[in-house]
């Protein structure tokens, strides 16, 4: 019988700790498929964030380093500079990357460090119980914006992909949603492209993935997926914001 679908070799058999309907599982799979596709597991080191994906080392079958909250891009810089032969990627949530680690991501991108960043944007702090994130949408209720995010007191949701694409350093910046099979396939292409950029030594590559957090959104998995399309995509447009051509 012909095998048409199997678990990527870059993923371990671990008991799933993510909530039902959470996009982290899909995002993990896309990264693992890219590692398999370019045959990278034996020469990759992933940097785990603080947030729901902190247990990344349970899932990925490659070396993993744990970073303090938000600092993954700085760790990745130290790694890539000292061992440019290794493939270095970070996997970060929006609280991790857009809040406490904003400086680290901007400067890592600006230096054009030859690393890959996978940014999972679910518009809340998942792990700590659903507090407001820099990406929380206006009007969105969270445990620390109980009346809905208000720009007068909380500012506006930050569009990280657009912001990073204004810098000279990145080779690739894209955003895709993990809602429909079609979009997941497009996200897969972006993740592949991001790793390919690193393999070709093109510099910093970045993929933002719009993701669900059913638990903290207070929605069931299918309504969570609908929310991505109805509420997230209109504010966080999908597409490639920057792509450098090889010369």
């Amino acid at each position: 019988m012909k095998t048409v679908f199997s678990k990527p070799a870059a993923l371990n058999d671990a008991v799933m700790h993510y909530c039902p309907g959470c996009s982290h599982g899909v995002a993990h799979r896309l990264v693992a498929e890219a590692l398999d596709h370019y045959d990278l597991t034996e020469r990759s080191v992933g940097v785990a964030p603080v947030g729901c994906a902190v247990l990344m080392y349970d899932y990925f079958n490659c070396d993993i380093m744990e970073a303090p909250h938000g600092r993954a891009p700085a760790l990745a810089t130290g790694m890539k500079r000292s061992r440019p032969d290794l493939v270095i990627f970070t996997y970060q949530g929006d609280g991790d990357l857009a809040s406490i680690g904003l400086s680290e991501i901007v400067h890592c991108a600006n230096r054009g460090e030859n690393v890959t960043v996978i940014f999972v944007n679910n518009t809340v702090y998942g792990m700590t119980g659903g507090q407001m994130a820099p990406t929380t949408l206006l009007g969105q209720q969270t445990t620390t914006s109980p009346y809905g995010r208000n720009f007068n007191t909380d500012g506006y949701p930050i569009r990280i992909a657009e912001m990073l694409s204004t810098l000279e350093g990145p080779s690739f910046v894209g955003r895709m949603a993990l809602d429909t099979p079609g979009n997941i396939l497009k996200a897969r292409k972006m993740v592949f492209k991001a790793f390919h950029m690193q393999v070709r030594e093109m510099g910093f590559s970045f993929v933002e993935l719009l993701a669900t957090c059913p638990t903290n959104w207070g929605l069931n998995p299918s309504d969570s997926i609908k929310r991505i399309k109805e509420e997230l995509v209109p504010y966080f447009p999908l597409g490639v914001f920057k792509e450098r051509e090889a010369d």
Binding site: V54, C62, M65, S82, S103, E104, V106, R111
Partner: protein, 351 residues
Amino acid sequence: MSESKRILVKGNEALAMGAIKAGCLFYFGYPITPQNEVPEYMSRVLPGLGGQYVQAESELASINMVMGASSLGVRSMTSSSSPGISLMQEGLSYLAGQELPAVVINVVRCGPGLGGIAASQGDYFQAVKGGGHGDYRLIVLAPASVQEMYDHTIAAFHLADRYRNPTMVLADGVLGQMQEPIVECDDVQPEPRKPWALTGAKNRPMRYLKSLYLKDGELEAHNRMLQEKYREIEKHEVRCDELLTEDAELVVAAFGTAARIARTAVSMARDKGLKVGLFRPVTLFPFPKRELKALSERVKKILVVEMNTGQMVEDVRLNVSREADVSFYGRPGGGIPTPNEILEKIEDSFS
């Protein structure tokens, strides 16, 4: 043995030269006075040696870059001064928790806050007692000459690797800025193998480094293991200097620059016929507890001199025999005790 050549260098340059001698090719840092000669030297020299200098966006980033490099098994270093070291405390706690070797240089200036750029010893507590969160220790070396800035930096790399622990060279602005002749070391121990390093999982199962322990009892066991390691360090790595203590009735205890000044005061006191000696901790962690205890059983009085309002004096009080009488003289905020001031305190004790 080849004829050793003496060269005249600044303390901060000696730190950088020591690091390079120890095989450190990766430096990450952020400018702050009075240690800027370290990053300046590194940025000049490392590219030619096949190494990397990265000027980080902050001290938070620099210590994390060091952590990244260290996790792959290479020797890497950062240097800063007090306010910058405060920003590194998060990283130091993580380095200690993940048992990663790294060398951090603190050329201390005076605080609190932005304080000033003059030399100080106000960061003793921060260096020796933790600074970041959790139960951990840094190995802390306190040089008192430009030669020691060089030698201790080399030693710091060995200690960091031997114990898989972050190690700090605690200097100050005087040591960083002064020039003295040094002799370069020509036999450096080889870097040990690092079987724990992340190198890509070729021909072996994947590996990870973490400080998160959620399963019941796991973190407690990890912390007990760390404490056992610190006891090993206390058993094997204590270093201190004693000068003229055999017949001394009073001993001045001081580290770093304060110890240098105290040495002059001690010899002035000897010229006056007073039986005075000097006790200088070289490792601040591990603190020379046993040596101090033994000394305190022989001498009547101990005068602690520091460039702060009294930090090491607490460790001295904890480790002397009951009979010894401990007094303190300190100058905070960039004030530097003069030999005459210390002599006066010594004479007061004898009268």
